[in-house]
Structure formats: C-alpha cells, structure tokens
C-alpha cells in the first residue's frame, strides 16, 4: 500500500468485482440454460406453442435453474444490505 494508490482496496475491488460483476451474470446464463433444457418429450413434436416456449420441460433443469437465479438474487440482496448497513 502506498500513499497514491490503495493497492489493498484495488485488488479486492477487482477480484470481488469479477466474482459479482461477471460471475453472477454468468451464473444467470447457466440458469437460463438449465431452465431451457428440453425434457423427456424431446422426441415428440412440441405440443402447445411449439418452439415459442420459454421454459424447457426438464424438471431437473428447471430446479437447477431456480437455484441459480436464487443464488443471484441472494447475492444482490446481500450486496444492498451491506451498503445500507455500512452507514
């Protein structure tokens, strides 16, 4: 740490910033991928709304996706909480 740049804070901002600012959106993308996984009815032609469906029908995928989104939301809530609590 020198008097011009607070290197200690700098590397924390970069590392935590990468985790939160790039990692969470990446996790969000994984969640999207999970919820859109095709289910067991993959072979049969999609019944209602055809290829217009937003969610896939793989229960495991849906569950995994929900977990991903929940982690993202929880991280955001914690971030806001720590800002408010920082006063």
């Amino acid at each position: 740490m020198n008097s011009w740049i607070d290197l200690d804070a700098l590397w924390k901002i970069v590392v935590i910033g990468l985790l939160a600012g790039a990692g969470l959106p990446a996790l969000f993308a994984v969640g999207l991928r999970a919820v859109s996984l095709p289910g067991r009815d993959r072979g049969s032609p999609a019944t209602e709304a055809g290829g217009d469906r937003i969610l896939g029908s793989n229960p495991l995928g849906l569950a995994a996706g929900v977990v991903c989104f929940a982690v993202v939301l929880a991280a955001i809530a914690w971030g806001i909480y720590s800002v408010v609590a920082g006063t």
Partner: protein, 382 residues
C-alpha cells in the same frame, strides 16, 4: 452569516443535483433503452424512482467530497457557489454535445477552481486530488471494462445453446434488474455528493456545527432533485451511450450493467468516491470487446476521453471566473449577478438544443456519427 447567499447556494446546489440526474440517466438506462428491453419512458421513470430510493440508502460518503480535496476552513459560501456554477456549466455543455462526462468531476473541478481563485494553490490538497480523483478516474473505467469483457465473454459462451426466445426474454429481464441496481447505486453515490456540498455550505455559514450530519431536509430535497433530473432523461447522452459507442444486444447490456453496479458499489464500500459515468462508459466499451465482431466506435470513445481530460480544468476555470466576478462585485449582489448569468446561459443553451432535439422519440434512431445535430461541432455563442 449571510442567509441570502446561503439560499442561492442551496438553490444552485439542487440545480446541480438536477443536472447530475439527467446527465447520468444514460449510465443506468442507455443499454436497456438501446436493446428495447424497456421503453424509453418507462426506463427513465424506473431509474428516477430508484435514484430516489438510493439517495436514502446510505450516507457514508456525504460531506467527504470536499474535505480531502480542499482546505475546508478556506471555503466560503461564495467559493461553494462558484464551484457549483462551474459544475453546472460543464454538465450543460457536455449534455448539449451528447458527451457522457462525469458530473462528480465537474463539481470537483469547479470547487477546486473557485478555491484556487479565493485562496491560491495552497488551498488545494493536491495529493488528495491526485490520489482520490485522478488515479481512480483512470483506473475505474479499466476495471469496469475488464469485468464487463469477462462477463460478456462468459455469458455468450454459456448461453450458446439456449433457444433464442428464452435467451432474449431472460437477458432482457436480467438487463432490467442490473440496470435497476445501477440506478440505485447512482442515487446512493451521486445524491450524496450534493448533500455533502449543501452541508459544507451550511457549515461555512455557521448554520450547523462542523462535523454535523446532513439535515433531513437536505437529504430529502437532494433525493427529489436527482430523481426528477433522472426522470427528465438526458436523451442526448443516452443516445451516445446506447447507440453511439457500441451496438448493444441484451446479453451485453446485462453484462455492462452488472459490471457497473459491482464496480460502483464495491468502490464506494472501500471509500472510493468515483464517477458513475466513467464506470458505465468503461463497462459498455468492455462489453463491446468481449463479444466477437461487435462494433466499437473508438472515435466516439476518443471524443469522450478528451472531454474527461478537459472536465477538471474547464469546470475549474468557470468556477474561478465566477468566483472572480462574484467577489469583484461583492456581497450578495455579486452572487446574485453570477446566478442570473447562469440562468441566462442555461436558458440560451436549452433553446439552442431545441434546434436539434433528441427525445424519447428518436433516441434509438440509427447512429450516423453525431448525437443529433448537424452543427454540433460549432462553438456555442452563449
């Protein structure tokens, strides 16, 4: 004690807060508007509301804006006032040209300039200026850009096999969420700077004790001013950020806003009061770099960088000049004369801007090399 000047200072500070709001709407909402995740009107309304909430979230950096940069015991009401006029002038000029430049730097530049005019160079803590303003300004867009580049790369890689409809739907939602976070962070960060300035003025006037917290009416009025400014929407700046710099798609928008939100919130957590504009611009550039074949208009980026370099000295010169005029005439009259000059100059600029309007109607038109105006490069008479 001079309550007449104090009233003018408070009004000017709220006016600055207002310009800060509409100048920075684009930092949060430009990408959501550009990708049509939100309609322009709804985007500015959402951002305005979240700025209002954000202003009440935290008060940790209020009153620190000036204390590390100038010797506060040299600061008089006239100095604060002249600094604010410098900041407003630079904000309005850059808005006219559609350049996203830092409102914080404009304010800091104005206050430094006015302090130098009042007390000479020893009134300024240069070490503080370099370590708290200039170095963070150089680093923050790079850090935000790096985070946005990595985020964009990961998002595109991980979502390759996701069906198109899920993708566009999901990422638009993600984009709205992340842009909302930036609005919240903006309210927290930037409204506090004006609260700090008004508190500084109250201290300088002896109205409150030094070391006092911002009174509630200051917090409330700053929150309202910044959110109204945000709601008005600086369409010229939004257009440059959303359409001019990089052609943006929803996943990129989400990556950019997430990077901005993370950088702003973390930095304020660690006590760096940095410019949301520099961060947002760095993120948007980064998201252009993280995606293959995305077009990044470096000429637009270069114009912005030039404006950033000019912000501190230009706002400082206006601040110093205004201090000179106000002090030359003296007393409340001097401050009032500068105030009238500011109103006249702002009105002239506003009228000129109406010749080449940018609004929620044409904010998303195809980029043809300029914000809107064909004569935007001509010097301004006013």
């Amino acid at each position: 004690m001079n309550d007449g000047i104090l009233v003018l200072v408070v009004v000017t500070a709220l006016a600055f807060d207002f310009t800060n709001g509409f100048h920075d709407t684009g930092n949060a909402m430009a990408t959501s508007i550009a990708t049509r995740a939100l309609s322009p009107k709804i985007a500015v309304a959402l951002s305005g509301a979240l700025n209002l909430v954000g202003a009440f979230l935290s008060l940790s950096v209020a009153a620190t804006i000036a204390s590390g940069l100038v010797n506060t015991h040299l600061v008089t009401l006239t100095v604060v006032f002249a600094g604010l006029v410098g900041g407003i002038t630079w904000n309005l000029l850059t808005w006219f040209f559609g350049i996203p430049s830092s409102s914080s730097h404009a304010l800091i530049g104005g206050v430094i300039g006015a302090t130098m005019a009042a007390a000479g160079t020893h009134g300024v803590k240069w070490h503080g200026v370099v370590s708290k303003v200039i170095i963070p300004a150089g680093l923050s867009p790079v850090i935000a850009g790096l985070i946005a580049t990595v985020g964009t790369y990961l998002i595109y890689r991980l979502s390759r096999s996701v069906p198109n409809r899920t993708r566009s739907h999901g990422f638009r939602l993600g984009q709205i969420g992340s842009a909302s976070l930036v609005s919240l962070a903006h309210g927290t960060n930037d409204a506090q700077k004006t609260m700090g300035i008004i508190t500084l003025a109250l201290i300088a006037n002896g109205t409150v004790d030094s070391g006092a917290e911002a009174p509630f009416w200051v917090i409330l009025s700053c929150a309202i001013a910044i959110s109204m400014g945000t709601y008005l929407g600086g369409w010229r700046v939004i257009r440059t950020l959303g359409k001019g710099l990089v052609e943006i798609d929803s996943p990129q928008g989400m990556a950019a806003e997430s990077a901005s939100a993370a950088t702003i919130l973390l930095s304020s957590h660690f006590g760096y009061s940095l410019s949301t504009t520099h961060v947002a611009t760095g993120s948007i550039l980064g998201t252009g770099l993280g995606r293959k074949n995305a077009e990044v208009r470096w000429s637009v980026a270069g114009r912005m960088a030039t404006a950033w370099l000019l912000t501190l000295p230009a706002a400082g010169l206006v601040g110093a000049g205004c201090y000179g005029i106000a002090q030359g005439i003296g007393g409340t009259t001097g401050v009032l004369v500068v105030f009238v000059l500011l109103v006249v100059a702002s009105a002239a600029l506003y009228l000129r801007a109406r010749g080449t309007p940018v609004s929620h109607h044409n904010v998303n038109d195809e980029w043809k090399g300029a914000t809107a105006s064909t004569d935007a490069k001509k010097p301004i008479a006013a």
